[in-house]
């Protein structure tokens, strides 16, 4: 195996340590959790009151036994035993009802408040900017909403909070035992200091074992998952033996942690049993010197049992508390992320422009990373009803411009204005409702066709039909089983890429927003589909301002103005004929497209392009 001192091993160790680091500050946790618990406070009160009542009843039970036995024996009357027994049974039954009420109220409290927390985290994630998602793996965010919140819920369902009842019970038992008979109680407690020290010793180790079980479980599952998913790589590299050895290390560590936990659990349980048996024997012996009624002996025995019960639960509860803490830390760590999607800004920062213009990008600079701009000084003015094509080589910034219009990202410098109003002064919803978007990769949701067309609204079938008719594509879909309510499989896998495009068009028309953003798909389609898409597009463009990231020659020709981008700069603008006459980048791109378009039919070879020396 590897030397533990190497740099690689150190990095790995640090990584594993970090994965199980647990920073605990219970006060902040409580203040952070409280807003979610408070709305369900009634359940908390029900639970707390039940805990107190329940503990009280449990403490009363041995006293009932005491009196029934002593009075029954004194009166030599079975009736007294019967009445005492009945009272005992009633109290016990009431105690159990309260016990159920207490645990259930606590669970309801936990489940409901954590359900609220989950919803809050989900909503919060929905409000994070896209730039945050670009940096974080999806799985990590999913875990925050599911497993981490569940870990906090354990706090409630494990009864960790019932520890309050245990405390009352421990104190109550001691007080009542002493009141019943000081000497006998002291005899029973004689072994307690030893028990206390022993418990401290065992519990620390039990806790450590329990914690390493949790972390080894996570490591083991992750390792096996990787080996299963990467089995082809392992086989190709002949690493079966090495990887099995690696897994065996974790598997054995997991086994050993479990064996330790078994050992300490067994010792603890058996020790508690033995101590309570010894206490009992001591009381019995002491009876020879110090007479007491039989009822007192029975009651003391019963109290002894109650005394040891909660002690054995403490170690487990403590560990659950720890894992809840680390879950909470991760969840509230996420909630502390300050970035927001299209956050409201100070109105004084907002710039103003001409309301004659539908859209305006005013000296816009932008980069996905802080030190690297992908758009430089973009100036673009679009009049209402104008159709603009954005053209340029891959990576020139076309799609980024459309993202800035929607304020999916924040501009670094400059302003984006809609009808003269700065995008930062518009509400997020108000801004985005001005746009209908057809993205390059169309995503269909599982559901029905109509739901997909209505995206986000309850589908109005009549309106869906009208939209499809306007685009002359109703016949494409109506023949499917279910018609407009045809099932869409996850990812839209039962629709061809051409059909998916048409659905995206229909979605945009259904939305009926004043501005259309269309990011054309690059994939080539057959000429019949091409013609259909053009007709549908015409219907979509009618009466709308449009920004089109164009790849199709037919689209490029039908716009009012072409904006040519390269390396984040606008380098040419104008109508098709003007730009062709200019003989610049656009002309070169156009000819390349033309050559590609004809590629299948053995077109003449494409032109070569070079920069003229000035």
């Amino acid at each position: 195996m590897n030397q533990p001192t190497s740099r690689g091993q150190k990095a790995l160790d640090a990584y594993h340590r970090e994965a199980q680091a647990e920073l605990v500050d219970d006060r902040t946790l409580a203040t952070q959790l409280w807003p979610f618990v408070r709305p369900h406070g009634t359940w908390l009160w029900i639970s707390l009151v039940s805990i107190v009542l329940c503990t009280g009843l449990a403490l009363v039970r041995p006293l009932i036994m005491l009196h029934a036995i002593d009075r029954g024996l004194a009166a030599r009357d079975p009736q007294v035993f019967f009445e005492g027994g009945l009272l005992f049974a009633l109290v016990a039954a009431l105690e159990q009802v309260l016990q159920f009420g207490q645990t259930y109220a606590m669970q309801v409290l936990g489940a409901r408040s954590m359900s609220d927390l989950r919803r809050h985290v989900f909503g919060f994630v929905g409000g994070l900017p896209l730039s945050y998602f670009d940096r974080q793996p999806v799985g990590r965010l999913v875990t925050r909403v599911t497993n981490d919140v569940d870990a906090i819920q354990e706090l409630f369902s494990s009864g960790a909070l019932s520890a309050l009842g245990d405390m009352i019970r421990l104190v109550g038992v001691i007080v009542l035992m002493l009141r019943l008979d000081v000497q006998l109680s002291l005899v029973a407690f004689a072994a307690m200091p030893v028990v206390g020290l022993f418990m401290l010793w065992v519990r620390r180790r039990a806790r450590e074992a329990f914690r390493s079980i949790r972390s080894e479980t996570a490591r083991m599952n992750a390792n096996m998952n990787e080996q299963v998913n990467g089995v082809a790589l392992i086989q190709a590299f002949g690493q079966e033996e090495a990887k099995a050895l690696e897994f065996d290390g974790i598997n054995a560590a997991y086994r050993d942690a479990n064996l330790r936990s078994i050992k300490y659990d067994a010792i603890q349980d058996a020790a508690i049993d033995a101590i309570s048996a010894i206490s009992l024997a001591s009381i019995v012996v002491a009876l020879g010197w110090h007479g007491a009624s039989f009822g007192t002996v029975v009651a003391l025995t019963a109290y002894l049992g109650q005394f040891f019960e909660p002690i054995s639960m403490l170690a487990q509860r403590y560990t659950l508390l720890q894992s809840a803490m680390s879950g909470a830390e991760r969840v509230f760590g996420l909630l502390a992320v300050p970035e927001r999607d299209a956050p409201p800004r100070d109105p004084s920062e907002a710039s103003h422009g001409s309301s004659e213009l539908e859209l305006e990008l005013d000296h816009v600079f932008f980069g996905y990373k802080p030190d690297f701009d992908v758009l430089h000084d973009i100036q673009l003015q679009v009049r209402p009803g104008e159709r603009i094509a954005l053209v340029g080589p891959t990576g020139s910034g076309k799609t980024t411009i459309t993202a800035l219009l929607l304020r999916l990202y924040e501009v670094r410098q400059g302003a984006v204005r809609i009808r003269g109003r700065d995008a930062i002064s518009l509400g997020r919803d108000e801004l985005r409702r001005s746009f209908a978007v057809v993205p390059q990769d169309v995503q269909l949701f599982s559901g029905t066709l109509a739901q997909n067309v209505a995206a986000g609204e309850a589908p109005d079938l009549e309106r869906v039909r009208r939209v499809l008719e306007q685009m002359q594509i109703l016949d494409v879909f109506i023949g499917r089983q279910g018609g407009l309510e045809a099932k869409v499989q996850p990812g839209g896998s039962n629709f061809s890429s051409g059909e998916r495009q048409l659905i995206a068009f229909a979605r945009a028309l259904y939305r009926d927003a004043p501005i259309l953003i269309l990011d054309e798909a690059t994939a080539s389609v057959d000429s019949e589909t091409e013609a259909r898409m053009q007709r549908a597009l015409e219907a979509l463009l009618r009466g709308r301002t449009a920004i089109i990231v164009a790849h199709r020659l037919s689209t490029i020709r039908s716009v009012d103005r072409i904006v040519v981008l390269q390396k984040g700069h606008i380098i040419e603008q104008g109508a098709h004929e003007e730009l062709m006459a200019h003989g610049g980048l656009y002309a070169a791109l156009y000819q390349l497209q033309l050559a590609r378009h004809a590629g299948a039919e053995e077109a003449p070879a494409a032109p070569r392009v070079g920069v003229a020396q000035a």
Partner: protein
């Protein structure tokens, strides 16, 4: 503990039971001893109480001393019992899991297409837990309960048979109720798990589709969807909570009835002088001792059923026959690296992917296999090192059928770099040094760094937070697709096989990196045979020979220049399309902003 030999340990329930039989026998004997001690303790306690209350102090004292000794002795026996029996369950779990991984490593794609990764993981975790409970907890309680029953029953009978029968009346009810709880618990837990899975899927879809959600203001609808599923999870949670919460009180309630009976009937007997005060105390103790074993017995029935069903699902993996195994010939002393493929046909079920591919590659030669997506070229790549079930008599290494050679020979000789590379959650250096026995010596570090440099990924790796020792993979720092591909390439370089199969090593890299990787492939060609699967003409043209695969057949074959001359050829179309693309990307790289965009367009051939 030494590592078990997972190939030889038994993987059947019976086999594991027999394997741990000594533990079971010893544990059972200790259980019997413990319960006998309990019987002794209860009955002597009764005598001691009666002695103490009737003034026989000395006798009570000596009995008391013995009671303490027995209590301490029981402690030891009880700890030993639990250790022996529970450890047997854990050790069985450890062995079964180790054996499971061993089997999984040997199974081929045929198995992994049938049983998906998520399913395998659920078997390795949930099902194995049920089997472990059966072999540890199950066995302990199966033996412990009868002993406990006998011990407590005998102690009570020694005081009063009538009271014993009366006190034991609620016991069958206790057993039946536990059984019914245990039967309801399992489906509710499963529903709870499923609701959590649905919740997780919803969040996943929402986060993955964030861009669309925002563009269309779908936030509200997403939140409503989430609320619906969140609400369902809440319901399942509470339904489980109700069952769990009611279990303790109902059990306590039932055993409370026993206490009531002892109290009333026992009290009457005591008044009448039928039993002593010590006898009554004994009843309370013995009855309390019975409650837990009987509850456990109720659980045992469900445990047995689930454990067996869970084992069946595991057995499917244990019994799966690896379809790719060592051949009958010994490993040759050395491999030259001559490869021959003869009429190779291959299907996934009904779907025929390769319809007869033949070619020869002399030792140290290079061949490019070009084709569209879905042409079967990646399948061909996996068939060569037998990562798929290669049909016998189709692929020959140095003239020997690879199916007749030991697997390790074939895979050591024919290295393979995946198109969609997989990284383990370990350091980048260890991912690259996958083939090395250790990655920490200076020599290994040098080899890793040099391979990373040749794969043009070293600089980027050194830029990571911990440099090349940064933990990458699913749970570490996320590498880009192109970086992963180059790490995989570097790993293949470290392996240093006679023949290197590279499956589309350029599919996720940018133009600048592409040039670097092409140089690296040239270096490799000088040292070993190379089979390059690609759709990039720029890469293919560097090989001695190019095969164009379409619909599972070789449709064109020859050198770059020869194939360019094939009218209507696939390769020629590829070349033209890619030339346009490279022109486009070159246009994207030109410095036009300052040059005010004056371009000259010239016709080809000028």
């Amino acid at each position: 503990m030494k590592r078990a030999d997972f190939d030889t340990i038994p993987v059947t329930l019976r086999g594991q039971f027999v394997r741990h039989l000594p533990s079971y026998v010893l544990g059972t004997a200790l259980l019997a001893l413990y319960q006998a001690a309990q019987y002794w303790f209860d009955t002597r306690l009764r005598v001691a109480i009666d002695a103490a209350t009737s003034g026989e102090r000395e006798r009570a004292l000596s009995l008391g001393a013995w009671l303490i000794v027995v209590a301490l002795g029981s402690l030891g026996v009880r700890v030993a019992t639990r250790l022996i029996l529970f450890n047997a369950g854990r050790v069985a779990e450890y062995e079964l899991r180790g054996a499971l991984l061993g089997r999984l490593q040997r199974l081929g794609t045929g198995f992994y297409q049938r049983v998906h990764a998520g399913d395998i993981m659920s078997r390795a975790t949930n099902d194995l837990t049920h089997v472990r409970l059966l072999l540890g907890f199950g066995v302990l309680n199966a033996f412990s309960t009868p002993f406990a029953l006998v011990s407590a029953f005998a102690a009570m009978m020694s005081v009063s048979p009538q009271l014993t029968w009366a006190a034991m009346a609620p016991i069958p009810v206790l057993f039946l109720v536990t059984r019914s709880f245990s039967a309801q618990m399992y489906p509710r837990q499963r529903e709870n798990q499923e609701a959590l899975g649905a919740l997780s899927d919803t969040v996943q879809a929402h986060v993955a589709g964030a861009r669309v959600v925002r563009s269309f203001n779908l936030e509200q609808q997403q939140l409503e969807d989430f609320d619906r599923i969140n609400e369902r999870y809440l319901d399942k949670n509470l339904s489980l909570a109700r069952l769990r919460g009611s279990m303790g009180p109902i059990m306590q309630g039932i055993s409370g009835v026993g206490v009531l009976i002892v109290f009333w009937y026992g009290g009457s007997l005591m008044v009448k002088g039928g039993i002593s005060s010590g006898g009554l105390l004994l009843f309370f103790r013995s009855l309390a001792r019975l409650t837990w074993p009987l509850m456990a017995l109720g659980f045992l029935v469900g445990l047995l059923q689930r454990g067996r069903a869970a084992y069946q699902r595991l057995a499917e993996i244990y019994q799966a026959v690896p379809d790719i195994v060592d051949g009958d010939q010994p490993a040759p002393p050395s491999v030259e690296g001559r490869l021959e493929v003869r009429d190779l046909q291959f299907s996934y079920g009904e779907n025929q992917v390769l319809r007869g591919v033949s070619f020869e590659l002399p030792a140290g030669g290079s061949v490019a296999i070009v084709g569209r997506t879905g042409s079967g070229k990646s399948t061909l790549a996996r068939l060569l090192p037998r990562l798929e079930n290669t049909p016998p008599g189709t692929v020959f290494l140095d003239g020997v059928d690879i199916c007749r050679l030991p697997l390790s020979t074939v895979r050591k000789a024919i290295g393979y770099a995946q198109q969609n590379p997989f990284l383990f959650s370990t350091t980048a250096a260890r991912n690259i040094g996958l083939a090395l026995p250790e990655c920490d010596s200076d020599e290994a570090q040098d080899r890793i760094a040099s391979a990373a440099r040749r794969a043009h990924v070293l600089e980027e790796l050194l830029g990571l937070p911990e440099g090349i020792d940064t933990v990458v993979g699913e749970r570490g720092v996320q590498l880009s697709g192109g970086q992963k591909q180059r790490v995989a390439l570097a790993a293949a370089f470290v392996l240093g096989p006679r023949l290197l199969v590279l499956d589309d090593p350029l599919s996720a890299v940018d133009a600048r990196t592409e040039t670097g990787i092409l140089e690296a492939i040239d270096e490799q060609r000088a040292e070993r045979g190379v089979i390059l699967i690609t759709h990039r003409v720029a890469a293919a043209r560097r090989c001695d020979r190019i095969l164009v695969v379409d619909q599972g057949r070789v449709v064109e074959s020859g050198s770059h220049e020869e194939l360019l001359r094939v009218p209507g050829g696939i390769y020629r179309a590829f070349a033209e399309e890619q030339r346009i693309e490279s022109e486009l990307s070159r246009l994207g790289e030109l410095d036009l902003a300052e040059a005010s965009g004056r371009l000259v367009v010239a016709q080809e051939g000028a």
